[in-house]
């Protein structure tokens, strides 16, 4: 919590997982970085997630490419931090996708085939063998497939570790520092960031403000169609490990891309190192309403008990909810805004921000430093057809 610097090579707005990863990558590339955060670290979506680092839930395409790159990034990061004695509870626990219907079985098998072609490791598991992975799983399965690359991290610890590492490279972190304006010169290039506590001169701003990234864009006078999509999670009392991996209902994949106007749910169940079991997940477009949807939560509990009958007697300790930064075409927005030179967006990851953060940071660092990107960044560009145009179409339709 140092004083605001007069100038910085780059200002990162937002101390969630994406902002922390970008700060870390830019600081490691030798840039002087100031991280500005309106509240404290992980005040938005990051802390409301399960810490999923998944490849299993993605169809082949740009997001899966990003996820595979990020997955390797997490493994490297976890090892490097462990060498420094920092624990972010990274666990390569693997995911098990299960189906209890014939339709679910067909969906699982077809998805596995498409993903394998794109480089995902998928092991087909006979339905009757699934309990070898998860002894408490219901015996009434029709299919299962195992994704050894799926990992888990404690997102708040990861943010703290990334920020601390960035500070080791000279970055500064400023909590409780709300951004109030973005200055630009006559040529349109950014020149600085105004905050409640003073101004930082800079030519590079990374908008990693997640849920608030549209507001930040608005400060620069540009529109960015990021909306909150709500999710809820159930947390049980701590127990000796009952669930060893991440276990997904077969229709989890379908849910992510489902009609956003409908409340959707699909069971995702996993144990944490703290001993609690997390049960997700739901998706609703209800603005920033914080009143729990108990009907959805009840259905989530019912589905979790279907898959793990042992959970019926386990106690619920708390629930929490969060808001995912949701773009209309389901792809994150990563790269420089063609309308405002110097303004880079790193947002719109919906529920996958933690998983995609390291790859996002690499794309941002490449874009800022002018290096070659590790994968093609164009699908994530602000001026892609599906984003701004998609938003206009959606507006016209309503």
């Amino acid at each position: 919590m140092s004083r605001l610097p007069a100038t910085a090579d780059a200002v990162v707005i937002g101390a969630g997982i994406v902002g922390a990863a970008c700060a870390d990558a830019l600081a490691a590339a030798g840039r002087s970085v100031a991280v500005l955060e309106r509240h404290a670290l992980t005040g938005g979506t990051t802390a409301a997630g399960e810490g999923n680092l998944l490849v299993s839930d993605k169809e082949p395409g740009p997001e899966l490419d990003l996820a595979l790159l990020a997955n390797r990034g997490w493994t490297t990061l976890g090892a490097a931090l462990a060498d420094d004695g920092v624990d972010i509870e990274l666990e390569a626990k693997g995911g098990l996708m299960v189906a209890t219907t014939d339709a679910g079985r067909d969906a699982i098998d077809a998805l596995a085939e498409r993903q394998r072609a794109a480089g995902v490791v998928v092991e087909q598991v006979a339905a009757e063998d699934a309990h070898r992975f998860e002894p408490h799983l219901t015996r009434e399965l029709t299919a299962a497939s195992y994704y050894p690359q799926d990992q888990q991290v404690q997102p708040v610890k990861a943010v703290a570790a990334l920020l601390e590492r960035a500070r080791g490279h000279g970055a500064t972190f400023h909590p409780a520092t709300r951004v109030t304006g973005l200055h630009h010169g006559r040529d349109g290039r950014l020149t600085g960031v105004a905050t409640e506590r003073g101004t930082v001169g800079t030519e590079v701003v990374v908008n990693a403000a997640g849920l608030w990234s549209a507001e930040v864009a608005e400060l620069a006078g540009v529109h960015l169609p990021i909306r909150p999509r709500r999710g809820q999670i159930l947390v049980t009392e701590p127990l000796p490990r009952l669930v060893h991996r991440k276990v997904y209902d077969a229709d989890y994949v379908g849910t992510i891309a489902a009609d956003p106007a409908e409340a959707a749910l699909s069971a995702v169940i996993e144990g944490t190192r703290a001993g609690t079991i997390l049960i997700g997940s739901s998706r609703e477009l209800v603005g920033l309403d914080r009143n729990p949807n108990w009907d959805l939560l009840a259905r989530m509990a019912a589905r979790a008990i279907d898959l793990f009958p042992v959970l019926a007697e386990v106690r619920l300790l708390r629930t929490y909810l969060g808001f995912r930064p949701y773009p209309p075409d389901h792809l994150p927005v990563i790269g420089e805004d063609h309308r405002i030179p110097g303004l880079f967006h790193a947002t719109g990851h919906e529920g996958a921000g933690i998983g995609l953060a390291p790859a996002t940071a690499r794309l941002i660092a490449a874009a800022v430093t002018g290096q070659r990107a590790p994968i093609d960044p164009s699908p994530f560009a602000v001026d892609r057809p599906g984003l701004l145009a998609g938003e206009e179409a959606a507006r016209a339709g309503t």
């Binding site: 919590m1 101390a15 955060e37 509240h39 404290a40 670290l41 992980t42 005040g43 802390a47 708040v156 610890k157 703290a160 920020l163 601390e164 972190f173 909590p175 409780a176 159930l234 049980t236 009392e237 701590p238 703290a274 914080r290 009143n291 729990p292 108990w294 009907d295 939560l297 009840a298 259905r299 509990a301 019912a302 979790a304 008990i305 279907d306 009958p309 959970l311 019926a312 007697e313 386990v314 106690r315 619920l316 300790l317 708390r318 629930t319 929490y320």
Partner: protein
């Protein structure tokens, strides 16, 4: 109102909590002809204040107190208790004991309360409620709700506070009154507030050697406000009564003194008593070790506001104690339509204030249901309003006498546990605030797990807020604005699942 309705999950009025405020509210409502359902998490009604007494040492010694609720020498001949019993007997009040509201929401036309039965979460013991499946639904829709959830002991951590043998003053009293069990043979009673005296007196009468009563507040601070209570003869008399009991047992009462550490092998064997300055910072060189096998330590009471917060009731900061309390108007009405609150959840004021507030809430709820007109509301409420005003003024004076200093954080060691559920120590909290930039309570929780455990920060929340303020140098969080837990008591997943129509028992 639908008193004859066949649907047992729809009732006109629910009172949550059967302590003094809840009983008074139920009585007032029932007397207007409204059928009342009272929910209470304990096996027996009465709250901490009227907790049924065991037969044994110290039993049967009663006095009328106007100290904070829980000062607990309430009696069976209390008029509120008698009226409540009458309404139970004639069936105008239906009591569901050992029933806890684990979640709730306010909707158009009333509130939905989700209930779990069979355990007593506060006491952690199995309870034996008489099963009445027709009336004991897991879900209740109420047209009006009166919140009378009371308060819990305020705990401030100190080195060794997690040792067996260290308990709250309220806990020591509950053991003694409820089960006739003494917490130890040689004890100190410490902390702050008038409640320490009756607890120490009861322990002494029960045969425990009370080595000292340590009141953190300076005698001069108490004395400054003392003239204002001279008019409350009953209370002064009661206080003198405790003082006489303590004098007879040769119990020293020390002011400006705190238990700043407890030590022992496996359980508490000695405590350190230490002088405090006016800000409650321990004065070096004044430590004195006292051999004990029990330490009862509490710093007043924290209002329970989980339920009202869930229902969307606005909270406000108690002007005397700074705790989040439910904001109510002169009719005990919260900002949520048809939701009322009375007693300690609206600010700690003691049982005498609580019964007046309860009666007013009951009348206002009856008016909201159309059972009485505005004239009756005014006339029947008038005596209660007068008593409430007088007693609230008294409670505020007590609050000024015992207002706590913030220097207590200096008695914490690095390895003192702050959160016992998740075993988070002081150094971890300080690191989160000063090194990680976790400058509010929420981010401390997220970075350290402090407050994520079974008690959902009910025990440590207060201390964490003070530590954040202390280590960040920023003013304390507006705790009234903090998000509250959505689950008020642990509940089985099948109980949650059963709220879904599609659910089938496995």
């Amino acid at each position: 109102m639908s008193p004859g309705s066949a649907d047992p999950t729809r009732v006109p009025a629910v009172v949550v909590g059967a302590g003094p405020a809840g009983m008074a509210a139920a009585v007032a409502l029932a007397e207007t002809g409204v059928p009342v359902t009272v929910l209470d998490s304990y096996p027996h009604p009465g709250g901490q204040y009227h907790r049924p007494r065991a037969v044994g040492p110290g039993a049967g010694r009663a006095g009328v107190v106007a100290a904070p609720t829980g000062a607990g020498t309430g009696t069976g001949d209390d008029p509120t208790v008698a009226a409540f019993r009458h309404h139970l007997a004639v069936g105008t009040v239906h009591l569901r004991s050992s029933t806890t509201v684990w979640s709730a929401s306010a909707e158009e036309g009333g509130c939905t309360l989700r209930l779990t039965t069979g355990t007593d979460p506060a006491a952690g013991t199995a309870a034996h409620a008489a099963a009445d499946p027709d009336r004991d639904a897991a879900l209740l829709h109420a047209e009006v709700v009166i919140i009378a959830t009371g308060a819990t002991d305020r705990v401030l951590p100190f080195p060794g506070w997690d040792l067996p043998g260290v308990c709250t003053a309220g806990g020591a009293q509950a053991l003694l009154k409820g089960q006739g069990i003494r917490v130890g043979t040689r004890a100190v009673v410490a902390g702050s507030g008038p409640f320490l005296l009756p607890v120490a007196a009861a322990l002494a009468e029960a045969g425990t050697t009370v080595a000292a009563v340590a009141e953190a507040q300076h005698a001069a601070v108490i004395a400054r406000a003392a003239p204002r209570i001279a008019g409350h003869l009953d209370v002064v008399t009661e206080g003198l009564g405790y003082a006489r009991v303590l004098a007879r047992h040769r119990v020293p009462v020390r002011h400006a003194t705190a238990v700043t550490a407890a030590a022992g092998d496996g359980r508490v064997e000695e405590v350190t008593l230490q002088r405090l300055d006016e800000q409650w910072r321990p004065v070096p060189g004044t430590e004195q070790r006292v051999a004990v096998d029990a330490a009862c330590v509490s710093f007043g009471f924290v209002p329970q506001v989980g339920l009202p917060a869930l229902l969307g009731c606005a909270l406000t900061s108690d002007p005397v104690w700074g705790d989040p309390v439910v904001a109510v108007d002169s009719h005990q009405h919260t900002c949520v339509d048809r939701v009322f609150a009375a007693g300690e959840s609206t600010g700690v004021g003691g049982a005498a204030v609580a019964v007046e507030e309860g009666a007013l809430a009951g009348l206002a709820a009856a008016h909201a249901l159309g059972a009485i007109d505005v004239g009756a509301l005014r006339d029947r409420g008038a005596p209660h309003r007068r008593s409430r005003a007088r007693k609230q003024a008294f409670a505020a004076t007590l609050g000024r006498m015992y207002r706590r200093g913030d220097g207590w954080v200096h008695w914490l060691a690095d390895d003192t546990l702050i959160c016992r559920c998740e075993e988070v120590d002081h150094a971890s909290v300080r690191h989160a605030v000063t090194a990680l930039g976790a400058v509010d309570q929420r981010s401390v929780k997220l970075t350290t797990r402090c407050g994520m455990g079974r008690c959902q920060a009910r025990m440590c929340g207060d201390a964490v807020a003070a530590l954040v303020a202390h280590h960040s140098g920023a003013p304390a969080d507006d705790r009234a604005a903090l998000s509250t837990p959505t689950v008020l008591a642990p509940v089985r997943l099948r109980e949650l699942a059963a709220l879904s129509p599609e659910y089938e028992e496995p």
